[in-house]
């Protein structure tokens, strides 16, 4: 009997909830949603959720994130905080491990959450999937890198944080090896790694070959020659990997590290998860990773101050060092959301008030916020921060189309794996031969695209 009562009560409550859970903002609801729709249709204007009374925003939204490690912890704390301000919005969290691939499959339906992380779809497809959040002109005054996530003047994603590329290193190992100055050029870096090999038991550089995506982290240094137009120039170049280009120099360092035996004995036996602990413990000296890795490794270290982050060891021909500031995953909103106001409220709260960037040692999205402590070495070394210039109108997808068409994949592991294999002697090609092949594929893809467009 008791059970039956409980059941019927539960049923009643659920039914009541389904009746009452809807979206909107009470009185303003109709007005704002029509304005929303209008804005979306014109692609120019969107509702300013910040002007609304938080208590008027209601609804239930799903937040899909790539941070599967945080869904039960940090993100729950954020939701609790968010609900203090917006008590009538219920946020459900879902984490996806293989985010980029899985979310794209789900995007063939309308059910891909309300707030999600912007996947790497072509920019001209943004408006098929996501709500515009505002114009570039308007949002670029308060937030960093809005242009990178925009199409034809409309912004579709706001970065959760930004990062600068560099090298994660263990200061203790550097000390033990007798390295006093932070290396600034590939040659200095190689010499420093040799010192570590000779004077300590640590692995100088850890490739993390098995994880594969770890090799693509090198690509973040594409602006190391101080050229913010690097992508535009590559789109109009038949040999962007020729000797003397920034790409040639970056990956030459990777090749040389492996070739000179300054890496682990068997790259095919590496393990990403344990590598974080190993660098924290001083068994590994350096790894090329994004800034996001700093806080993760510091959390594992007995003494967090041992973990340092230095600029990538390349000096531009003009004698300066440069680092590109680029956004990490960006928040965006499903075009099919039933609760646009609740979704917008959550998105802006995450960007402005969550403190996620500070927690991750990343660069906050707001323009007026300070750089994180981890980038102190960059500022001391006089590194200039630049962001990549977005492609001009009409060429937004040109780079991606050449990149995918040629299967060079600047952000894919394919050729980087080939380089490591060649440096190990598992393949017969030399570094220059690999670069020539990439150039040839790149040029062929450009020619094919030109033919198609004519």
């Amino acid at each position: 009997m008791k059970l039956k009562k409980v059941l019927s009560l539960a049923l009643g409550v659920t039914m009541a909830m389904t009746t009452f859970v809807g979206c909107g903002s009470n009185a303003k609801s109709n007005e704002t949603s029509s304005k929303m729709a209008e804005g979306a249709a014109e692609g120019k204007e969107s509702v300013d959720i910040k002007d609304m009374n938080p208590e008027d925003v209601t609804g239930e939204i799903n937040f899909i994130t790539h941070r599967t490690d945080l869904t039960d912890t940090l993100i729950q704390e954020y939701i609790t905080e968010f609900n203090k301000e917006y008590p009538n919005v219920k946020v459900n969290v879902e984490g996806i491990t293989n985010y980029q691939d899985d979310i794209k499959v789900r995007m063939s339906t309308t059910e891909y959450g309300d707030v999600l992380m912007l996947p790497d779809v072509n920019k001209n497809e943004y408006s098929n999937f996501f709500l515009p959040l505002g114009t570039v002109d308007e949002l670029s005054q308060s937030y960093r890198d809005v242009q990178g996530k925009s199409f034809e003047g409309d912004v579709y994603g706001i970065a959760s944080m930004l990062t600068a590329p560099g090298v994660l290193y263990n200061k203790k190992v550097f000390e033990a090896a007798g390295i006093t100055d932070i290396p600034k050029t590939p040659d200095e870096f190689l010499a420093a790694m040799q010192k570590i090999k000779d004077n300590t038991d640590a692995i100088p550089y850890y490739t993390n070959y098995v994880a594969q995506w770890t090799l693509t982290q090198w690509e973040a240094n594409r602006c190391a020659y101080g050229d913010p137009k690097v992508l535009i120039n590559m789109s109009h170049d038949n040999a962007p990997f020729a000797q003397g280009t920034v790409h040639y120099e970056i990956y030459k360092l990777m090749y040389d590290l492996v070739k000179q035996g300054l890496v682990e004995d068997d790259p095919m036996s590496t393990d990403w998860e344990s590598s974080k602990q190993m660098i924290a413990d001083g068994q590994i000296a350096t790894m090329v990773l994004g800034e996001w890795a700093v806080s993760q490794v510091k959390a594992l270290a007995a003494n967090p101050d041992d973990i340092g982050y230095m600029p990538f060891p390349i000096t531009a021909p003009d004698g300066k060092q440069y680092a590109e500031i680029a956004s990490d995953f960006a928040y965006c909103i499903n075009k099919n959301t039933k609760c646009p106001e609740a979704a917008l409220a959550f998105l802006w709260w995450m960007v402005e008030k969550s403190g996620y960037a500070q927690h991750e040692d990343g660069i906050p999205t707001q323009i007026d916020a300070d750089y994180p402590e981890a980038l102190k070495t960059f500022e001391d070394a006089g590194v200039q921060f630049i962001s990549v210039t977005p492609a001009p109108a009409g060429e937004e997808d040109l780079f991606d189309n050449i990149d995918n068409g040629s299967e060079v994949g600047t952000w894919q592991p394919k050729w980087k794996l080939t380089m490591v294999e060649a440096a190990l002697g598992n393949r017969s090609e030399t570094y220059d031969e690999i670069c020539n092949q990439m150039n040839a594929d790149w040029a062929a893809s450009r020619a094919e695209l030109k033919k198609k467009n004519n």
Binding site: K104, V121, V210, M268, P413, R427
Partner: protein
Amino acid sequence: MSIIATVKSKKVVDYKKQRQREKNITIITFTCIPLVLLILFSFIPLGSMFYYGLTSWNGTAPNKEFVGFQNYVTIFTKPEYFEVFKVSIYYFVGSFVQLALALYFATILTSGVRYQNLFKGFLFFPYLINGVAIGFIFLYCLKQGGTLDIILTKIGLGSLIQKWLGNAKIINYSMAGVSIWRYMGNNLIMFIGAIQSISDEIYEAAELDGASRWQQFKYIIMPSIKRIVQLNLLLAINGALAVFEIPYVMLQGANGSKTFVIQTIETAFQFKKVGLGSAMGIVLLMIVVVIAIIQNVFFKEEEAEMYD
């Protein structure tokens, strides 16, 4: 009398009709669910895959540009797409080792050794484990300083240690070895089933005639299970062409372990060429179908010979 007879015969006809109808209903209801599943999850996806293969779709764009057979031309003219079939040779050769081992164990386990069910269980067990789990088990087993290296060192064979995954000349042997370990149990069970269907009297007669174990195997077991061996061979060829789980889970096809299926996935999803990737899937399907047809023709000819 006659009236009664006609009524009776009419009733019988009615019964027969009704029975036939009931039978039909039963057949239809029982086959309709599997048919719906088959159509829904095999034929419709196959149809749309064939269609995607004729377009240059990137996987997300709303418009799918029709390019005809351009994708197939690309596959057959660019060697890098076809080269990866070389890797399948390792698995194909490995499958002979696998069949030989399975046959060997099947013969032993049906000859009345003690604890045969226990051994059968041990040998069949790997086939029950999920392929992803097997990939991880062997990633840790074969990596430098992993389980295999530790065991070799412990039993004094440390000098034999190789970079099982790091050496590009060895990696495909290692992976084919894992594949043998995984699938041998399945062949074993099929062989045991076939061998057990041979009547005991034949063995007894053979024993009375003084036939040795080897002679029994050669003249009794082998001819009786020929069909099953052929079937397994066909499965082995298909398996070798479509190898995926083990090299993908272990190294994502790196260091020269890339197979055609991994190449397909890379093309479709990393480089956003879903159209081309679908065409590659169709090509693989065609190859498998052709092999099946050849095998069938071969079987039929043999059958015809048998009756001659």
